[in-house]
């Protein structure tokens, strides 16, 4: 099996996914094209050497539909010989794009692939693509569908996380992200986004609240209480978790991942590509895995999928230097950390989606790149990246510096 090597990665800064967000005027295909362009340019890459571009994207409808990867390849001015495919594994799509690239290379189906993801949540609203899972009454009824926020609060209830615990983690994410930005830890991998005039429109993560206080977080209203009570979703979820008397709604907008726009791209290839492109590999992909888990609570796959990836790599938890678990909700990170008995000093060390936002299809690729930069900065070796995803899915990847 050929080794899948990581050469480089870039990401856009994340814009607020709202009408007044800085990236609201930039279509998803342009966010992607700029990111692809930046990656090629900084590596002086002959794009004719690439076989494919694999792109995670979740709301694959409207201008994000119809295989946005191929559209972005051409829009970015890449060689027309480069393919393009769109991956949908809900929130893990960006990481699955990397894994698919690694699989293509590992099976000798390709020499070089750009993997990444994109989501413009300011332009394509959350839920725009609906789907049988959430909205076909037969499927939603038979599978006890409840939205993610209900699952997040259910995890907190089952694990006895108080509102204070949840808010404390949210504050930690903000402080870590603020510190990382101030210290320039991200700067090497940020590709600023430009408008139609070529002017920079955003060069930093727009969603962060570096000055937020515990008091301010404590003052936010519970985000999923109405959905759970009046909407009936608590009643649905309890039928799957009948040992719970009532779900405690502890998550707020401040302890959930932010709704943002953004794109990311990572250059992955084999040794022969390294030679022909004249590039030096920074890391290798040791293993990857995906699983399905109980869909109603939805967000508890990461520990199990992480263990599966470790098994496939022949590694133990103790072999991993840094962990990135997507901050879908504070309770997701806390359960993962507890389940693997991790030191919080090794987990999401530069903050995550609670502070910086979660552009659905892009996040997996973004955090994989972030943790690679941090391994280099700390001169450590191994990292495990994982995300929970819609309908109980989960994906994990282990990378190792060279």
């Amino acid at each position: 099996m050929a080794e899948a090597l990581i050469f480089d990665h870039v990401r856009t800064p994340r814009g607020k996914g709202r009408d007044d967000g800085a990236l609201r005027e930039i279509a998803a295909v342009q966010l992607t094209a700029q990111t692809l362009g930046n990656l090629a340019e900084r590596n002086k890459l002959d794009t004719g050497l690439l076989d494919d571009v694999v792109l995670g994207c979740v709301q694959t409808t409207g201008e994000q539909g119809g295989n946005i990867a191929r559209a972005a390849v051409l829009e970015a001015g890449y060689s027309q010989s480069v393919g393009g495919q769109q991956v949908h594994r809900f929130c893990a799509s960006g990481l699955d794009a990397i894994n698919i690239a690694a699989a293509q290379i590992g099976s000798d189906g390709a020499d070089a692939v750009v993997a990444g993801g994109v989501e413009s949540m300011s332009r394509i609203f959350l839920g725009a693509d609906s789907g049988a899972w959430t909205s076909d009454p037969s499927v939603a009824y038979n599978t006890y569908f409840a939205p993610q926020g209900i699952g997040a609060d259910l995890i907190a209830t089952l694990d006895n996380y108080s509102r204070e615990d949840i808010d404390a983690y949210a504050l930690l994410s903000q402080k870590r992200a603020a510190h990382a930005w101030q210290s320039g830890y991200f700067s090497n991998s940020i590709a600023p986004v430009r408008d139609v005039l070529g002017e920079i429109i955003l060069d930093t993560d727009e969603h962060m609240r570096p000055d937020v206080t515990a008091e301010q977080l404590a003052g936010l209203p519970a985000a999923f209480e109405a959905l759970g009570n009046k909407g009936g979703f608590d009643g649905v979820a309890l039928q799957k978790y009948p040992e719970v008397e009532a779900i405690r709604h502890v998550h707020t907008a401040g302890s959930s991942s932010g709704i943002v726009d953004g794109a990311a791209a990572m250059l992955i290839g084999n040794k022969s590509f390294a030679a022909s492109a004249g590039l030096k590999a920074r890391a290798r992909i040791r293993s990857f895995a995906s699983i399905g888990s109980e869909p109603t609570i939805m967000l508890t796959a990461p520990a199990a999928v992480a263990e599966k990836a470790l098994r496939r790599a022949g590694m133990a938890v103790s072999d991993i230097d840094l962990f990135e678990i997507n901050e879908a909700f504070a309770s997701v990170v806390m359960r993962f950390t507890n389940a693997l008995q991790l030191d919080m000093e090794k987990v999401n060390v530069n903050g995550g989606a609670i502070a910086m936002g979660h552009p659905l299809g892009a996040t997996g690729a973004m955090i994989a790149g972030t943790v690679l930069d941090e391994l280099e900065r700390r001169d450590l070796h191994t990292a495990l990246v994982t995300l929970c995803a819609g309908n109980g899915l989960g994906t994990a990847t282990i990378i190792e510096r060279i």
């Binding site: 839920g127 909205s135 076909d136 569908f145 979703f233 039928q239 040992e243 008397e245």
Partner: protein, 708 residues
């Protein structure tokens, strides 16, 4: 033609009149569908007919399907054929090339309303008797003659689902506002308006049959408002029905799938969902018990024959507490003069004030007028004077649940009554045969066990003492009928019927705490199995003292034969060790605060959970089985003679889930053989209270179900 009359008028308009030959309401049956199709054939073939009016000769337009027909067992194929036969006839009506107007009088419900929806226009007057609706969901079905498809195309999915899932009726005004039909201008009758419309030569085409009526980009989930609507509606249905009632999700699916199809395919899909429901256990159980057998009981089918009917111009009630006042209210509303007696004037007056409060609520809700309410209240005479009872045909005692207190009032009251008067006791626990001995005429003595709150609970458990006569049963039943309540017949024995079954539930649930099953799981599992309230919550409601007192009484009475109920230990611990007696003391299995109630957090430490406990499904099944087994014993012991009464008593008295059809329908649905097997497994696992008797095993061996 038997049920349908057709008349041709000189203006080329034919009038098709629904007039069921052997029912006071128009009903749909296969026979009716054939006749209706034949009538249409005649009208469509006649070139002289330019337009058609459909109306009714009855007080109402049509009540829907004949539930006696629906209550038999259907195969899926038979059910599908029935649905198609009616659905196709209605489809022909709207596509026959002649305009059709429905002239609606009174109620058009279920299939009757579906027929109206298949007409091109609907005319009716703004009359309180006019009432439209699709109540099929209440019977565990969906409208299988185009109702789910036409209503959503007329109103949009959201409003249609509100009516289809709610099963509620609407008034003429609401129907006009929704655009379902029209009320003519003053001075014009609906029939005249229909004739005028037909005379104008309208195009006989439904909106859904117009070319281009389906915009492809708006189909199903391509219209985002549908995605949100169906997601939310599904959650509400699942949260409310706990996956026990298949009609609700079938309605959602029929609407969801049908909205994406052209009309004929949409009707076909609706028929398939209908067939799945009608051939399923739940609809058959609900129709049998909640409609057919309830109506039978309300019509006093079990009344002993050949006894002259008794009337109740004047009755007496002893004890003006909650129960007494509630019975007084029901009797006064039914037109009786009520003598309401208590120990002192204040207590008697308080009873009448309670009735006033209930009547005020009715007036507020426009359910009765001020004058009518005043007249009802005037019929109640609060007093301490037993001589006022003279001339009463029936007396109900509802005094404190104590043999001595009851004996006292029975003796005093009996002295004032004629030899024909019936004496009824509203005891829920004391043996009727014993109480009857305080009367000089024990053959005229009977138990009438009302449920609280009387004004809302329909059931009356009639307790037949050893010496109660057939005449007394007949007359007491006349009284229950007079109150428009639902009688079941029960032989006098400890706990009668409903209390026995109820206590089996309470004890089983409470005992589970001692087995290490978490309290929340017990409560949720019970509710998810369909019980209205978890066993711990309901024990708090009645107070923990009640089951304990009943057990102690049984011990005193039974001596060696006494068996301690399985929940007894936990209850006595709660009372004596933790001083938690139940809701009215502010502390029981739950704690009660301003923000509502929640399980007492210390339960987990006093009754620690085992790390391995059964699933919610297993717990729910056990809680239903224990009640059903108690009902089976009541039949075996002769306490209940008619299995239909066991079903009715369990659903309308103690909230046994409707989808089961009641305790004995539940046994039949599980299958008597499987039921016995499960009881035997539970006997091994949790105790001999699940022991199936030889009588039951024999029945199982013969495959003898309770409802044949």
């Amino acid at each position: 033609m038997t049920h349908i009359k057709t008349d041709r008028t000189s203006g080329g308009i034919a009038v098709l009149t629904l007039d069921h030959a052997n029912s006071s309401t128009n009903l749909i049956s296969p026979e009716w569908a054939v006749e209706f199709s034949d009538a249409l054939d005649g009208l469509f073939a006649d070139d002289a007919v330019k337009g058609i009016v459909i109306t009714s000769a009855k007080d109402g337009f049509m009540a829907g399907a004949d539930l006696d027909f629906m209550s038999r067992a259907f195969t899926t194929k038979e059910a599908l054929e029935f649905s198609r036969s009616v659905s196709n006839a209605f489809r022909r009506l709207e596509t026959g090339g002649k305009p059709v107007a429905a002239v609606l009088v009174g109620a058009a419900l279920g299939g009757g309303f579906e027929l109206a929806l298949a007409c091109h226009r609907r005319f009716f007057s703004d009359d309180p008797a006019v009432q439209f609706g699709l109540p099929e969901v209440n019977v565990g079905l969906l409208p299988g003659a185009g109702g789910t498809q036409r209503l959503q195309r007329l109103l949009g999915a959201e409003k249609a689902l509100d009516l289809l899932l709610g099963g509620r009726s609407m008034t003429a005004a609401e129907a006009v506002e929704l655009g379902i039909g029209e009320t003519p201008a003053p001075g014009v009758t609906p029939l005249e308006a229909a004739f005028a419309w037909l005379a104008s030569g309208p195009e006989p085409l439904q909106p859904w049959d117009r070319k281009g009526n389906m915009a492809r980009h708006k189909l199903g989930l391509l219209d985002h408002s549908n995605a949100a609507l169906f997601s939310m509606m599904t959650a509400k249905v699942a949260a409310r029905t706990h996956h026990n009632y298949p009609a609700q999700p079938a309605i959602l699916s029929a609407v969801f799938e049908g909205m994406q199809l052209h009309f004929d395919k949409a009707l076909e899909v609706e028929s398939k969902y209908f067939a799945r429901l009608l051939s399923g256990d739940v609809a058959q159980n609900i129709v049998r018990t909640v409609f057919v057998n309830r109506r039978r009981a309300q019509n006093l089918a079990a009344r002993p024959k050949g006894v002259a009917k008794m009337s109740f111009g004047k009755i007496g009630i002893l004890g003006a507490g909650m129960m007494g006042a509630g019975i007084a209210y029901s009797a006064a509303r039914a037109g009786s003069k009520v003598v309401l007696i208590d120990r002192n004037e204040d207590a008697a007056n308080a009873g009448k004030e309670h009735v006033r409060g209930l009547l005020d609520k009715l007036v507020q809700r426009d359910r009765t007028s001020n004058e009518e309410a005043a007249a009802i209240l005037d019929r109640i005479l609060p007093t301490t004077d037993y001589t006022s009872l003279q001339g009463a045909n029936l007396v109900v005692e509802a005094v404190f649940e104590d043999s001595a207190v009851k004996a006292d009032v029975i003796k005093v009251a009996a002295a004032q009554l004629s030899a024909e008067a019936v004496f009824a006791s509203n005891t829920s626990t004391l043996p009727i045969t014993g109480l009857a001995e305080n009367s000089t005429r024990p053959e005229r003595f009977i138990g009438l066990h009302f449920f609280s709150p009387v004004e809302r609970m329909p059931l009356v458990e009639m307790i037949i003492g050893k010496r109660t006569s057939q005449e007394t049963i007949a007359h007491a039943m006349d009284f229950v009928g007079h109150l428009r309540k639902l009688p079941i017949l029960v032989k006098d024995s400890r706990g009668f019927y409903t209390s026995r079954v109820f206590l089996s539930y309470v004890n089983e649930g409470v005992a589970m705490l001692d087995e290490g099953i978490p309290a929340a799981l017990i409560e949720n599992a019970a509710r998810f199995a369909g019980m209205p309230t978890g066993p711990l919550a309901v024990t708090d409601e009645v107070s923990l003292d009640l089951p304990v007192m009943i057990a102690q009484q049984a011990k005193a009475d039974l001596g060696e034969n006494y068996r301690e109920p399985c929940g007894y230990g936990v209850m006595t611990r709660m009372i004596s060790e933790f001083d938690r007696h139940g809701r009215k003391y502010g502390a029981g299995f739950y704690e009660y605060g301003s923000g509502g109630k929640r399980l007492w957090p210390e339960l987990a430490s006093h009754f620690p959970s085992d790390s391995r406990y059964p699933s919610s499904q297993e717990i729910g099944e056990r809680l239903l089985h224990v009640q059903a087994l108690e009902a089976v014993r009541c039949v075996e012991e002769g306490v209940i003679e008619d299995p239909r009464d066991a079903d009715l008593g369990s659903i309308f008295g103690i909230g046994f889930p409707t989808y089961t059809g009641g305790t004995l329908s539940y046994v039949d649905t599980v299958g008597i053989g499987k039921f016995v097997e499960r009881c035997e497994a539970l006997e091994k696992a949790v105790g001999e209270r699940f022991k199936a008797s030889d009588w039951l095993k024999q029945r199982a061996a013969e495959g003898l179900s309770f409802h044949g």
